[in-house]
């Protein structure tokens, strides 16, 4: 039986493991953690003080016939076909890497200090709780939401934070005493133009200042000021800054399968790691030029399951990122490798669809709702939508 080792039991790794037939493959998932986390909820812990339990044991999500090993992988030798943990090594016929990303606050001076003090909503539950505490301690002044690097998990999430922070401040009656600023290294608030045309007027109508071309250089925590390499500066009272998103610390042989941010170089259609026909990478861990989102991890896992079964399926780059714009409304960022992002207006229904996702998330990792996803993805096909929303 072909031995498939999947490193990482998050959204991508679990969907893949559950999509493969254990009668046909010997399937092992290795994760350093016994639990998996529903990360989109970080946003609601940070900005709404949500309390729901957002973790589940990996074993409870894996269907029958799949093995789980709880160990941290430290080295992967693609030449020797071996995965090393601290005490063991595992060989494979086919390897799939689905290790996601980590945040790195060491890259810019001052970032670690403000992250320790105020938190962020891309690292873990504790940091998201810290943001909620910081917001509740805020008495007015300059509130900053910013992206310290252009690469970020869930591309709408930086702006979602800005929208939800404004809603919070407004409801607390602090709007008159506060200035909210969103900074981004991109040329506009949201990088892709069609959805930016929908989002930017909303930001303006809520008095959220936008600073574009702002590449964070360093933070002076004494002067409480953030500087960009383009030469701009902003002073802060409450800075909520998304740290750079990078690949995890696993050593690879050969090391050139990683890019400078430790993302794995993989083919955007087949997810095959460059130079290897027995190793793949899916989800946030890759350098594939599409959104780092659970939906992408899901779709890549499904394509890869087909490929491992000998079907010549290809990933089309489809994105479907929910975008909460505050006050109970939302939209989606929908596009693909061949279709530009749709100019999709926010509505209440779209926000409710995001909420439904939270309810069905664990079951969807098991494949229970595959039929519903198929219908949903067909209904929201970007080619179709682009004809309707011009």
């Amino acid at each position: 039986m072909e031995k498939i080792v999947i490193v990482g039991g998050g959204a991508g790794g679990l969907i893949l493991a559950n999509s493969l037939d254990p009668k046909k493959f010997d399937i092992t998932v290795i994760d350093k953690s016994p639990i998996t986390i529903f990360q989109p909820a970080y946003l609601y812990i940070a900005f709404k003080g949500a309390h729901a339990n957002i973790t589940k044991p990996i074993r409870s999500i894996l269907k029958k016939g799949r093995k789980f090993i709880e160990e941290e992988v430290i080295k992967i030798d693609l030449e020797e076909r071996k995965v090393y943990t601290k005490n063991n090594s595992y060989s494979y016929d086919k390897l799939v890497i689905a290790t996601g990303t980590i945040t790195d606050t060491s890259k810019m001076k001052g970032l670690k200090e403000i992250n320790d003090q105020f938190g962020d909503y891309h690292t873990n539950i504790e940091n998201a709780q810290k943001v909620w505490k910081s917001l509740n301690n805020f008495k007015g002044g300059s509130l900053i939401i910013g992206m310290s690097s252009p690469i970020c998990k869930c591309p709408p999430s930086p702006l979602e934070g800005a929208f939800l922070a404004e809603e919070f401040i407004n409801k607390k009656g602090l709007k008159n005493k506060s200035k909210i600023t969103f900074f981004t290294p991109y040329p506009r608030a949201y990088p892709s133009e069609p959805i930016n045309e929908v989002i930017e007027p909303l930001l303006k109508s809520r008095n959220i200042n936008i600073m574009t071309f702002f590449d964070l250089d360093y933070i002076d925590t004494e002067k409480k000021t953030i500087y960009s390499i383009e030469g701009d500066e902003i002073s802060y009272d409450l800075p909520i800054i998304i740290p750079p998103c990078v690949g995890v610390n696993i050593e690879y042989n050969p090391s050139n399968v990683l890019d400078e941010d430790r993302f794995i170089k993989a083919d955007k259609y087949t997810m095959q790691i460059n130079g290897f026909d027995d190793a793949y990478a899916i989800g946030d861990a890759t350098n594939i030029a599409t959104a780092k989102s659970g939906v992408t991890a899901h779709l890549e896992a499904k394509v890869l399951a087909n490929r491992l079964n000998g079907i010549d399926d290809k990933f089309n780059g489809r994105t479907n990122c929910p975008f909460d714009v505050g006050y109970g409304k939302g939209t989606f960022v929908i596009g693909s490798y061949t279709q530009p992002v749709v100019k999709y207006p926010p509505t209440r229904i779209k926000h409710m669809m995001k909420k439904v996702m939270q309810l069905i998330y664990w079951q969807s990792l098991k494949g229970t709702f595959d039929f519903a996803f198929d219908i949903f993805f067909k209904m929201t096909d970007p080619e179709k939508l682009n004809k309707k929303y011009k």
């Binding site: 290294p185 040329p187 990088p191 133009e193 071309f213 590449d215 390499i229 030469g231």
Partner: protein
């Protein structure tokens, strides 16, 4: 004379090339030249806005068969 940095952002579409450009700019110094290769037509307007913002000079914008080549003199960093 500074160094010449070639940034190959072909195939990445909006806002890909600008991301690659700003990454290169982070490690550049005054006197360097950045040569940006891209296929996305939006790159021209975005790079012009970027150069204005960062006070750097666009030396030339050329199109050959399979790419757009933008040469930027780094005068400010």
């Amino acid at each position: 004379m500074g160094k010449r940095i070639v940034v190959d952002a072909r195939g990445s579409s909006c806002p890909g090339p600008i991301v690659e450009l700003s990454k290169a700019y982070r490690n550049a110094a005054v006197g360097d030249v950045i040569e940006l290769w891209a296929t996305d037509p939006g790159v021209k307007a975005d790079t012009q806005a970027w150069a204005e913002k960062t006070k750097n000079k666009i030396e030339s914008i050329k199109e050959d068969q399979d790419k757009i080549i933008i040469v930027i003199d780094i005068e400010n960093r």
